[in-house]
Amino acid sequence: MNSTLLIQVLDYGSGNLFSISNALKRLSNLGVKLEVNISSSYKEGTVDGLILPGVGSFPSAQRILDENRQAILDDIRGKRVVVLGICLGMQLLFESSEEGEGSGLGVFKGRVVRFKSNFPKFKVPHMGWNTIDIVPSASKETSKLCMDFSGNEWAYFVHSFYAVAEEKSIVKAWTNYCGVSFASVVEKDNLFGTQFHPEKSHTTGVKVLSNFVKALEDFHLA
């Protein structure tokens, strides 16, 4: 049994990836050792976990996504890798986006849309701390990322777009911004996504990332 888990952060070439790799390195009290690398090239079967980070825009991530699309999809379908998409990274798990040209991985059915609201002083981007409401059916058994949540979780968001999932059962938590309810946690099998930034969400983020590592462990080492 291999007791080191390899995690790759996919670099789309447009922003700071220190925050997420630092956050993974800060995790302690894990039963396993983590090795984190940042790279723009994904090679089939080489890592246990893949993080699609939350930097850049849907169109700006296309080039790198296209170069690696087939390898990533093959590993997802072959259950060789566990994926966590953060913010834009979560949106890239869906099919398409109002933000611009290109296509996501399409492993979740649905489209990414822009915030609209009649709320007075409605501001886009949705930037700042907001609460996460776990869906009632997403108990410990069904949501791995939201495991051990107390019900008073705050997370840090920075986004102008959100994903509308066709398959509602993948949505494990919702967040409400000025009357607009959107999916803030999605998961299914070896696919996970958070619309917020766990690496900037203090204790909630630590929980989510630790839960992701546990999920990785269960998947690969069990």
Partner: protein
């Protein structure tokens, strides 16, 4: 839910040490920036603001190494300001882990910088700091100062706030130079005047001396979205968590 009001401890850093000045003069030492930031983070601070106060005055370059050290430890958003005068300066700080950059003097000197930063890094990364003081010669009664509050540009503070919003600022930090370091409370008139004219988030700064000052500044429809404070936290007069409990018990929505 709509946004909660944010509490942002500000660390004025000079030569790697946190200091806090009374009206920007007579600087007193207060501590290690990374350690202080971690303490605030664990005490429910919503964000941390680092300002290199020596940077503009002495032309020193930005705090790239500080960004890196902070990013390794902190898991809440942080902003770095002071001496950032170009896209390259901003890139260094952001690529080393800062979430936002704040520009002040350099925005007045070169207003196009605001738009350039917005186009390259996104509006959410661009904070414009405005140091304002009472000046009856301007329409609003407040003028913009630069170079650490030492030079009065004569620009109207409200007009300038509207202009930087148009140019692409994501947020404005509005510091009252008259109140800074005095503990007499935020300049409510200044904050309301600017707050009623812009639609991007406004962060009040300068003058906080007691818990009631946070409540006062958050009253009213055009009140700021966040309040920044330094000395009240650094010298242990109050804890961030205490302030937030107090605000919540007085009906102000906060993250807690």
């Amino acid at each position: 839910m709509p946004h909660t009001k944010r509490i942002i401890p500000c660390l004025d850093v000079k030569d790697g040490v946190v200091v806090k000045g009374v009206r920007f003069e007579s600087l007193k030492k207060a501590g290690d920036p990374v350690k202080l930031a971690e303490e605030y983070c664990n005490d429910w601070a919503d964000e941390i603001f680092f300002l290199d106060i020596s940077a503009s005055r002495e032309g020193r370059k930005t705090m790239v190494s500080l960004a890196k050290m902070v990013a390794a430890k902190l898991d809440i958003p942080f902003t770095i300001g002071g001496g950032i005068s170009s896209v390259e300066d901003a890139r260094k700080v952001l690529s080393n882990g800062a979430d936002k950059v704040a520009i002040n003097t350099s925005a007045v000197r070169n207003p196009e910088l605001v738009g350039e930063l917005r186009d390259i890094f996104g509006q959410q990364c661009v904070v414009v700091s405005i140091d304002a003081r009472r000046n009856p010669k301007t329409n609003s009664g407040f003028s913009v100062c630069t170079l650490g509050g030492t030079f009065d540009t004569g620009l109207d503070a409200v007009d300038w706030a509207k202009e930087v919003e148009r140019k692409g600022a994501g947020e404005i930090v509005l510091t009252s130079i008259d109140r800074d370091g005095t503990g007499e409370g935020y300049d409510k008139e200044l904050n309301n005047k600017v707050g009623s004219e812009i639609s991007i988030p406004l962060i009040a700064s300068g003058g906080c001396g007691k818990m009631g000052d946070f409540f006062e500044v958050f009253k009213g429809e055009n009140s700021p979205d966040a309040a920044l404070a330094a000395s009240v936290f650094h010298y242990g007069a109050m804890r961030v968590q205490e302030v937030k409990r107090y605000l919540r018990s007085n009906g102000v929505a906060v993250r807690l």
